[in-house]
């Protein structure tokens, strides 16, 4: 079963440092979650087959959107929404929302809780094994040359005579969906819809992230 924890779509603002009540300096990521519009409630019946709410966030000029999208937004009395994501919930929870409802931070998060952040990590391009998998590389001295950042041997000999599947090798790194779990919610700013999460969040500043209450806490 999918997770049942409430989440919202947000924009990563960036990282900074704030001081806790006891004076401890905390490294936090600021995420602007909301306002989110509930676009659709998936009921588990008919075509839907599962329970979720569909949320919208951000603005886009209406003339850039297809008629189909405009029609879909109009059903929730909304328009010009840029980002659409779904959050899976239990049937009870999902049915407590109505299309057109506007949600802010406080509808989902409270200080002292924990959250997961889901976003697209920064693309690093074609990366070598040292950067990608933290391989140790090769010795820099004692006459070695041209092997400094190599990954070493990739297999054995006639047995098995091939390279195992999943062998860690250079290649594309980053730019994929990444979830960071159990980030402490240090502060919530209802006025500006901000959550302060202790730790890092995937993606660049300004990137779209889904923040949800931690599944494993």
């Amino acid at each position: 079963m999918a997770n049942e924890s409430m989440g919202l779509i947000g924009r990563k603002i960036g990282m900074t440092q704030i001081f806790a009540d006891d004076g401890a300096a905390l490294a936090v990521t600021v995420v602007q979650v909301g306002p989110n519009t509930v676009l659709q409630v998936k009921s588990g019946e008919g075509n839907d087959r599962y329970n979720a709410i569909q949320l919208g966030f951000g603005i886009q000029k209406e003339r850039r959107q297809t008629k189909a999208l405009r029609g879909h937004f109009a059903k929730a009395n909304a328009s010009g929404i840029r980002h659409v994501r779904e959050v899976r919930l239990s049937a009870d929870k999902a049915s407590s929302f109505e299309p057109g409802q506007i949600l802010g931070v406080e509808d989902a998060f409270a200080v002292g809780g924990y959250a997961d952040a889901i976003g697209t990590s920064k693309g690093k391009g074609f990366a070598g094994v040292m950067k990608k998998y933290n391989f140790a590389g090769f010795i820099a001295t004692h006459g070695s040359h041209e092997f400094f950042r190599h990954g070493g041997s990739i297999g054995t000999r006639l047995t098995p005579g091939r390279v195992f599947k999943g062998k860690k090798m250079p290649g594309r790194m980053g730019g994929y969906r990444k979830t960071i779990q159990n980030l402490e919610i240090v502060k919530v700013d209802a006025e500006r819809n901000l959550v302060f999460l202790r730790g890092g969040v995937p993606g660049p500043n300004g990137g779209i992230v889904v923040v949800r209450n931690a599944v494993k806490k």
Binding site: I13, G14, T16, Q17, I18, F19, D22, G23, A25, V30, Q32, R192, L194, N205
Partner: protein, 122 residues
Amino acid sequence: MNLLQTLEQETLARRTRDDADVRPGDTVRVHVRITEGERSRVQIFEGAVIRIKNGGPRTTITVRKVSSGVGVERVFPTASPNIEKIEVTARHKVRRAKLHFLRNRRGKSARLKPMRDFKRKK
């Protein structure tokens, strides 16, 4: 000003104490609040500012002193609520922003030249 800068300004604005103008080469007395269980008291760390790392609310100063023959350095986040006060007791003439070279000096050669017209604030 973007939102992040606004937030950092707010963190700074939350400080109650107004900071003395601290510069590299100053001798400062840093009053630090230390909480041990229930009780809290103020400890004073006195030494020379050998480095200032600016960064809005992330600004830190590194203070160095020689305590019973051992060099001790402490890094203080100046925006921290645990710092009650930073007093500048003396100012010295220095020609660089980071005084890391003091670490390799001891005794007479580790002295700094006092600034002549520095008046201690009452």
